[in-house]
């Protein structure tokens, strides 16, 4: 008798949402990287009559200036995705650095950094981002700076809590007994054990940053026209109540990106931290 071939085991973390999320995120990343090469129409030029409903040539219709909404939506990824990456990486770097310093050194350093965190977190994040972006002036770069300022305290808190917990573990004490200095303790024996929650949070936050960037652009504090940014495109479409397709393209884009990153973040949490599943 022949034994049945072993079934190909699917890893438990590779669930449907993770696959969908991964696919969607990968799709938008590929679009962001390559849309220049195959865009159906140039995003900034008038290519047809204005306010045309979806048709075979313009799958998502045209906007008030006769630009192709689909092309503009696809080009929007070239702004939203890099902004999300830059903001999250900068916020994680800044937050992790300050949070780890606060947790490790304690005392006055801790007090100073954490009060700054408290003050920043005392404002509603959207409001603070708006205030900072407004004071810096419109533009995607300024919006990015505003979002970094809003976001780093979250990571500082997370990192501080992790460092406080890990630094009391016995292997750290053992390392001290072995003659390890402060920098080595932090770099070799503490930080490598602190990244899990930060990583999970960061994945979830990609979507949130895309959303906030769009929000800032929507109210005119982010991308400047004619940049095909999703938020400002929705803002353009909002005045054309009967031409629903103008806002539909960027709206769908934001929805899928945010959902994709959230699915991915959930899956990552299940994989890295089975306790909270």
């Amino acid at each position: 008798m022949q034994l049945a071939p072993p079934a190909i085991a699917t890893p438990s973390w590779l669930t449907l949402p993770v696959m969908v999320g991964g696919f969607v995120v990968a799709f938008w990343v590929v679009v962001a990287l390559s849309v220049e090469l195959w865009s159906p129409h140039p995003p900034l030029e008038m290519v047809a009559r204005r306010l045309q409903p979806p048709s075979a040539d313009h799958l998502l219709g045209t906007d008030a200036l006769g630009r192709d909404v689909l092309s503009r939506t696809l080009h929007g990824a070239r702004h939203s995705i890099p902004i999300a990456v830059i903001v999250v990486i900068a916020a994680v770097a800044l937050g992790a650095l300050l949070g780890a310093g606060a947790g490790f050194f304690g005392g006055l350093v801790d007090g100073a950094i954490m009060r700054l965190v408290d003050v920043t977190l005392a404002f509603p994040p959207v409001l603070l981002a708006m205030a900072v972006a407004a004071s810096l002036g419109p533009g995607l770069e300024n919006a990015a700076i505003a979002m970094i300022i809003v976001w780093w305290p979250v990571y500082a808190r997370l990192m501080r809590a992790q460092v406080l917990e890990v630094k009391e573990r016995e292997h750290v004490e053992a390392a001290i007994a072995g003659g390890a200095g402060r920098i080595r303790l932090l770099g070799v024996h503490i930080l490598p054990l602190c990244w899990t929650p930060v990583l999970i949070n960061a994945t979830m936050d990609f979507g949130q940053v895309v959303l906030l960037a769009a929000s800032l652009s929507f109210i005119g504090l982010g991308a400047l026209p004619p940049t095909p940014e999703w938020g400002s495109m929705i803002s353009d479409g909002a005045v054309h109540f009967y031409q629903w397709w103008i806002a539909f393209g960027p709206g769908l884009a934001i929805l899928t990106v945010v959902l994709g990153f959230n699915f991915l973040g959930d899956g990552l949490r299940d994989y890295l931290d089975p306790r909270s599943a």
Binding site: R169, A174, V188, P192
Partner: protein, 339 residues
């Protein structure tokens, strides 16, 4: 002793600043460790045995005040710059902790951790050379297939193997002194014996002096050369291991020995020392052991006995000689078996 001991501790005191005032966890101990010899430090939890050694190495939190003197081959360790002490930790004095399950860095390969331990103290050794050294060290502590094992993570090691890996790390820089804080407490008995064997071998092969902190008299009896019995932050009896086990003078030591289960008499009741260790916040007057001592008399409540030579050991008890005459009366009281 003509030559200087490897480690000479004199009048070591450790206090902690707490909300209810200064608590003295170690109240002045004197003890020597000779080269290539094993000092067993015995006592109950809270008797100050671990705290005193951690105080010497500067491993206590900042709220601890450590005074007195601890000389490593004549070099004072207390009160020197933290950096100088850091250079001694791991290089000249190695330390092994109680729980091998948590004392290794879970995200570093075992070999990498030993490489780290080596290179902390000598940057001139290449990673490659250090890894070769790690393999030799794992071999030295009897870990089979060290070549494969260095590439593994701690979770792939059993408890006993992790403790061996800890020992390998602790001796990676060929320290002169090894402090083992309850090295076998978290392990089961057969593994205990193997770990003690490894320690014994290191001592004979590398000539390392060893301080063995434990509450297990059986471990001390089989391993130590000299013994210091601690109670409430003080050494109450000190001497060669045979003298302590054959002719204990202090009622506390006697109680401890009487409390050892006897294998040859299976229906003998288990014996304990009545009462509980004193609070360090409000230490008893006079001899700290008097509330639990079966022989205590008026003098014990007032006057603290000093450590003095009694027979073949040093003992801190007013009644050591009187107790000797009443050898039939141990300090311990019979308790119900199985309790």
């Amino acid at each position: 002793m003509a030559t200087e001991p490897l480690l000479a501790i004199r009048d070591l005191r450790v206090s902690f600043a707490t909300r209810s005032g200064l608590v003295e966890a170690v109240a002045g101990i004197d003890v020597d460790v000779e080269e290539g010899r094993v000092l067993g430090v015995v006592g109950e939890s809270g008797s100050g045995k671990s705290v005193s050694m951690m105080g010497v190495l500067g491993l206590l939190p900042r709220s601890a005040v450590v005074t007195g003197s601890a000389r490593l081959r004549g070099q004072e360790l207390l009160g020197i710059a933290p950096r100088a002490l850091q250079a001694i930790r791991g290089a000249r004095i190695g330390m092994i902790f109680q729980d091998p399950l948590t004392a290794l860095n879970p995200v570093l390969r075992v070999g990498q951790q030993i490489v780290e331990a080596v290179r902390i103290h000598d940057r001139s050794i290449s990673r490659k050379a250090a890894l070769a050294r790690a393999i030799d060290l794992l071999d030295l502590v009897s870990i089979p297939q060290p070549r494969e094992r260095v590439q593994q993570y701690p979770h792939e090691f059993s408890g006993g193997m992790r403790q061996r890996a800890m020992i390998a790390m602790a001796v990676a820089n060929e320290p002169e002194l090894l402090i083992a804080d309850e090295p076998t407490t978290a392990l089961d008995v057969t593994v205990q014996a193997q770990i003690l064997e490894v320690l014994e071998e290191l001592r004979t092969r590398l000539g390392i002096g060893l301080i063995l902190i434990t509450h297990d008299l059986g471990v001390v009896a089989g391993t130590a050369d000299t013994v210091a019995v601690m109670y409430a932050g003080r050494i109450v009896e000190r001497g060669e291991v045979d003298a302590i086990f054959d002719h204990p003078h202090h009622p506390y030591t006697r109680g401890l020995l009487a409390a050892l289960p006897k294998l040859d008499a299976d229906d003998a009741p288990l014996v304990g020392i009545e009462g509980r260790p004193p609070s360090l916040r409000e230490p008893p007057s006079g001899c700290a052991f008097h509330p639990r001592c079966g022989l205590a008399e008026a003098r014990c409540r007032v006057e603290r006995p000093a450590l003095r030579h009694v027979g073949s050991t040093s003992c801190a008890c007013h009644l050591a000689e009187a107790a000797d005459r009443r050898r039939d009366v141990p300090a311990g009281h019979a308790m119900d078996a199985g309790k």
